[in-house]
């Protein structure tokens, strides 16, 4: 029995290793920042998630249109069956 399937791509293990290495490189380049020097880091634009609630709504819609955003599926959300 045949079916008109597209060939699926294979994934490359070295990708992950690359990233861990890059991360380790980053670690070596960090400097010590005193608490009084952290003003810039505390600015709202430096916040990791500047718009948490809008992102929550948007990612729910995105999860329903893509197959892989649901890495946080255990955090709840609907079935996105549409």
């Amino acid at each position: 029995m045949t079916s008109p399937q597209l060939a699926s791509a294979s994934y490359v293990l070295p990708w992950r290793l690359c990233f861990v290495l890059v991360l380790m490189l980053f670690m070596c380049s960090c400097t010590h920042v005193e608490p009084w020097q952290r003003g810039t880091l505390a600015k709202p634009q430096m916040s990791s998630n500047p718009r948490p609630l809008q992102n929550k709504l948007r990612s729910h819609v995105q999860n329903s249109r893509e197959a892989t955003s649901a890495g946080d599926v255990a955090a709840g959300g609907g079935c996105g069956c549409y």
């Binding site: 029995m1 045949t2 079916s3 008109p4 597209l6 060939a7 699926s8 791509a9 994934y11 990708w15 992950r16 990233f19 861990v20 991360l23 380790m24 980053f26 670690m27 070596c28 960090c30 400097t31 010590h32 920042v33 608490p35 020097q37 952290r38 810039t40 880091l41 505390a42 600015k43 709202p44 634009q45 430096m46 916040s47 990791s48 500047p50 718009r51 609630l53 809008q54 929550k56 709504l57 948007r58 729910h60 819609v61 329903s64 249109r65 893509e66 197959a67 892989t68 649901a70 890495g71 946080d72 599926v73 255990a74 955090a75 709840g76 959300g77 609907g78 079935c79 069956c81 549409y82």
Partner: protein, 901 residues
């Protein structure tokens, strides 16, 4: 400055080792989180799918979402977050995919056919295999492309589909055009509730949370525990989290689709659900429910999340996380199917059957089977985020990357670039672009071909002729045509604008445009153009700072609102929750934010002139010259309102009031109704009435100006001039059935008035010691003769009188009387409308109504929520005099919340 001392070196290596572990995103520098309340509204809209020139009568997918969130402080080191979300999905969705020659989206519809032995003759008569008698033909109705899942396909020797006309005659070469078969489901409303509590410890934080999500076909319960630890003078943060969700699917299968999808068909018409589906499935079962075949499934999801954040220097930080999810159970979409072309070796008349002159080789029967996905799915994702401060413009550049891989064979990459640019002191502009690419699942296939018959007739000496279904082992174990599992890429540029109004209070607007295309896949090889679509979404949020838990008045010049509100609370008792426009803001420059939700419930009898009506009198009288066939049994209406008030002067307060409305209605057949169904529009509308009707979306938007007329001690008189803008849709329609457009839903299910309305009011309030009182006269005058759908709601006059008593510094109780008079609807629907119930007739609307209200209010003066006001009121119907036949009102619950900014 490089890391020098030995302690820091060992910490750094610990960090490096920790980096090999998974991690969660956590802020190393915690901004002082004060209490906030937020409201967000989002609208998402897709464009039409490519149906190769054919247009579908179905609307593309759209989603309306509202979210309310409150961050509150329980104690010094204990904070909580409560989030309530509601979203409504509506529009056309692909059911399956087939070559265009299968004509999945047809102009004509309605062929009642059977799949296991009966046949349809040329004139559309059905011959049952047993008795051979022809049944009545079904008339065709032309209303636009509708789903047609049972079909035929002609293929060449290489099993490629050939271009055929709608009668199945080969008219061309290989058909390379694939097409989605679209169908439309009723609007779906989903609600989600999340609660999270976090505890701050020295250099650490622990979070515990949970919640649930519910929609009519899916319920989910979830919880999580996570913790984060700061190291290295808080330059490094490590975090770990565990989450779990248990979900149940309860899907009523689409009545338009059921006769055409194999498993529900076999369950419904041949009662063979067990051997066709149930015996081979453990996490889901097909059952014949009261109204429709139902698919029940359950699943469990476990998640582990590990993260690390590292401050690199004064202006940069790096975040990384690794997450694993283990999902087990029913993960398929009950509304999606895969078309399977059955090439029965015994029925080939083409070249495969030795006919040299036939211009095709195989003649296949195309049947839709429910999609099958593996029960097990393990997923892993790696997230990286780099944030760099750009000193030149004081901007921040956010670069994100996410890699995903799972056991379904899907790999994806997400690239995210955002530039957050502050402009001046109060504005921020953030352009952003996101690129996403995924490979297809290893069981994804647009459709399947198999060399076997759909059924095999077996002649048994004892049982006579029986049919056995096809051999499933000849098909792949798992298959899905869901485009979300196909290979594609998306590109979404977006822009966001934030305006700070006061400290911690801001408004955010954002707009995103999205293109989903197979050609956008990284490395090429994505799915064809037929799955491409565009979408846009916009989003508006209001975040309000409620102030710190520590009341520090020395830090700012103006009074912080907790003190301000304390004064207010002492001096003014506000009106019960259900009364609007009851007070002005005291001082020029004041601002106030309020949220109100009104939940009305109707049920019980249908009343006429104050008396309940029997089914018999409803049939004969409630539909004015026509019979009534069904009646509503219960109705629930919820209106969410946001009050944004601003006083430019001390005698004028302006108010903006956007609204969000949702309604549900259940109906039933009237006893001895002259009709219970049928294949024409009225019959289908009657059958449709068995399902719950839902409408949900943005309501009308009101603008009011409240003008102070008279103020003496505590007695105040003011008038209001308001205008209601028709921002709500008034064209909600019944879901089409078998290609029939069933027209508008009844008038009471529309979300707004559809007309510009003038809303004047006159209010007087007074207070003496612990008692307060008030009276209000208000009205609604429609400024147009008819709305876009051809009718106008009746004008309204309301008068209300209330008294309240302060029980203590915080609580007060109120009693109220309310009289309302509304005229009947003028005009009537100007397009297709199939009236089957009293609510379909304009004359039945309006009337005179009296309610009694009982309320409780709390003004919080201390703690983190100081300055907020919480009220609840129950409105009990006392006397109803509807103009015609109306469902009895059972009561309204009003909750309102307000805060001075």
């Amino acid at each position: 400055m490089a890391v020098t001392n030995s302690k820091e070196v060992s910490l750094a290596s610990l960090t490096m080792a920790a980096m090999a572990l998974p991690g969660l995103m956590m802020q190393p520098v915690c901004a002082d989180e004060s209490d906030t309340v937020s409201f967000v509204y989002e609208h998402y809209q897709e464009g039409e799918r490519d149906l190769a020139g054919m247009s579908s009568k179905f609307q593309p997918i759209q989603v309306d979402s509202i979210l309310g969130n409150i961050n509150f402080t329980v104690a010094d080191d204990l904070k909580g977050t409560l989030t309530v979300t509601q979203d409504t999905w509506s529009g056309a969705t692909p059911v399956a995919t087939a070559p265009s020659s299968a004509h999945g989206n047809r102009l004509t519809s309605v062929h009642n056919h059977v799949m296991t032995g009966a046949s349809i003759d040329d004139s559309g008569h059905i011959h049952d295999p047993e008795d051979g008698e022809a049944t009545n033909p079904i008339s065709d109705v032309v209303t636009g492309a509708s789903p047609y899942l049972y079909s035929s396909l002609k293929l060449d020797a290489e099993r490629r589909p050939l271009v055929t006309n709608s009668e199945g005659k080969v008219i061309g070469g290989v058909d390379t055009q694939l097409m989605h078969t679209l169908s439309s489901a009723s609007p779906e409303v989903r609600q989600q509730f999340d609660l999270n509590i976090s505890r701050e410890l020295k250099d650490a934080k622990v979070d515990v949370g949970g919640g649930f999500s519910q929609e009519h076909d899916f319920k989910s319960l979830f919880g999580h525990v996570s913790g984060s630890w700061d190291f290295n003078h808080k330059l490094t943060t490590l975090s770990a989290g565990l989450s779990y969700a248990h979900s149940n699917t309860f899907a009523l299968l689409d009545h338009d689709v059921v006769p055409h999808v194999y498993e529900p068909y076999m369950l419904t018409y041949e009662r063979r659900g067990d051997d066709i589906y149930n015996r081979t499935h453990s996490s889901s079962q097909l059952e014949l429910g009261e109204h429709a075949p139902t698919l029940k499934g359950s699943r469990d999801d476990w998640g582990l999340n590990l993260g690390a954040t590292q401050i690199l220097n004064q202006g940069a930080l790096l975040e990384t996380s690794l997450s694993f999810t283990h999902s087990f159970g029913y993960q398929a979409n009950p509304y999606k199917a895969v078309e399977v072309a059955f090439i029965d070796p015994l029925k080939q008349k083409g070249q495969a059957g030795g006919n040299a002159s036939a211009n095709y080789t195989y003649d296949a029967e195309l049947v839709a089977l429910m999609e099958q996905r593996p029960d097990l799915r393990n997923q892993g994702a790696l997230n990286l985020k780099y944030i760099q401060h750009i000193a030149a413009t004081d901007a921040a550049l956010h670069l994100g990357y996410r890699y995903f891989h799972d056991t379904w064979g899907i790999q994806s990459h997400t690239f995210d670039v955002e530039w957050i640019q502050p402009l001046g002191k109060t504005w921020t502009l953030s352009p952003r672009i996101r690129y996403y690419s995924q490979t297809q699942a290893n069981f994804y296939t647009p459709y399947l071909i198999t060399h076997q018959a759909l059924y095999n007739k077996v002649i048994d000496a004892e049982k006579g002729s029986t049919s056995t279904p096809f051999d499933r082992s000849l098909l792949p174990a798992h298959y899905s045509s869901d485009a979300r599992l196909s290979a594609f890429g998306t590109l979404s540029p977006s822009i966001a604008l934030t305006k700070v109004i006061a400290e911690g209070t801001n408004i955010e607007l954002s707009y995103e445009q999205m293109r989903h295309a197979g050609s956008l896949k990284l490395g090429g090889g994505g799915e064809g153009r037929y799955t491409d679509f565009d979408a846009y979404s916009f989003n508006i949020a209001l975040n309000v700072d409620l102030g710190d838990s520590h009341q520090d008045t020395s830090s700012s010049n103006h009074m912080d609102h907790s003190e301000h509100a304390h004064q207010e609370a002492h001096h003014t008792q506000a009106a019960p929750a259900g009364v609007q426009f009851d007070h002005l803001l005291e001082n020029s420059g004041d601002m106030m934010l309020g949220y109100r939700v009104m939940d009305s419930h109707l049920g019980g009898d249908i009343q006429y002139k104050g008396k309940p009506s029997s089914d018999h009198s409803l049939i004969n009288q409630a539909c004015y010259g026509h019979p009534c066939y069904v009646r509503p049994t219960k109705m629930d209406m919820r209106m969410h309102m946001l009050d944004i008030m601003y006083a430019p002067t001390d005698w004028l307060t302006l108010m903006l009031m956007p609204q969000f409305v949702d309604m549900t209605m259940d109906m039933r057949l009237l006893a001895e109704s002259p009709r219970t169904g049928g294949m024409d529009a009225i019959g289908m509308a009657i059958m449709h009435a068995e399902h719950t009707h839902t409408t949900s979306g943005l309501g009308d938007t009101e603008v009011h100006g409240l003008i102070n007329l008279f103020k003496f001690n505590h007695t105040k008189l003011h008038m209001g001039l308001g205008l209601s803008a028709p921002t709500a849709n008034v064209d909600a329609k019944m879901r089409p059935m078998m290609g029939n457009d069933l027209g508008f839903l009844e008038y009471g299910m529309q979300l707004g008035s559809g007309t510009w309305d003038f809303k004047p009011s006159l209010t007087v309030t007074g207070q003496y010691a612990s008692m307060a009182w008030g009276a209000q006269l208000s009205g609604t005058k429609r400024l147009e003769e008819q709305n876009a759908s051809g009718y106008a709601l009746g004008d309204i006059v309301q008068s209300t009188l209330w008294g309240s008593y302060a029980l203590n510094n915080t609580l007060s109780a109120s009693v109220r009387g309310l009289y309302s008079k509304q005229d009947a609807i003028k005009g009537a629907y100007n397009n297709i409308h199939v009236p089957i119930s009293a609510g379909d007739y304009p004359q039945n609307y309006g009337g005179r109504f009296v309610d009694a209200g009982l309320g409780l209010s709390a003004n919080i003066n201390t703690g983190s929520l100081a300055g907020t006001r919480w009220s609840l009121e129950w409105l009990q119907p006392v006397s109803d005099h509807p103009n015609g036949y109306q469902l009895e009102r059972k009561g309204t619950l009003v909750f309102s919340w307000g805060v001075h900014l």
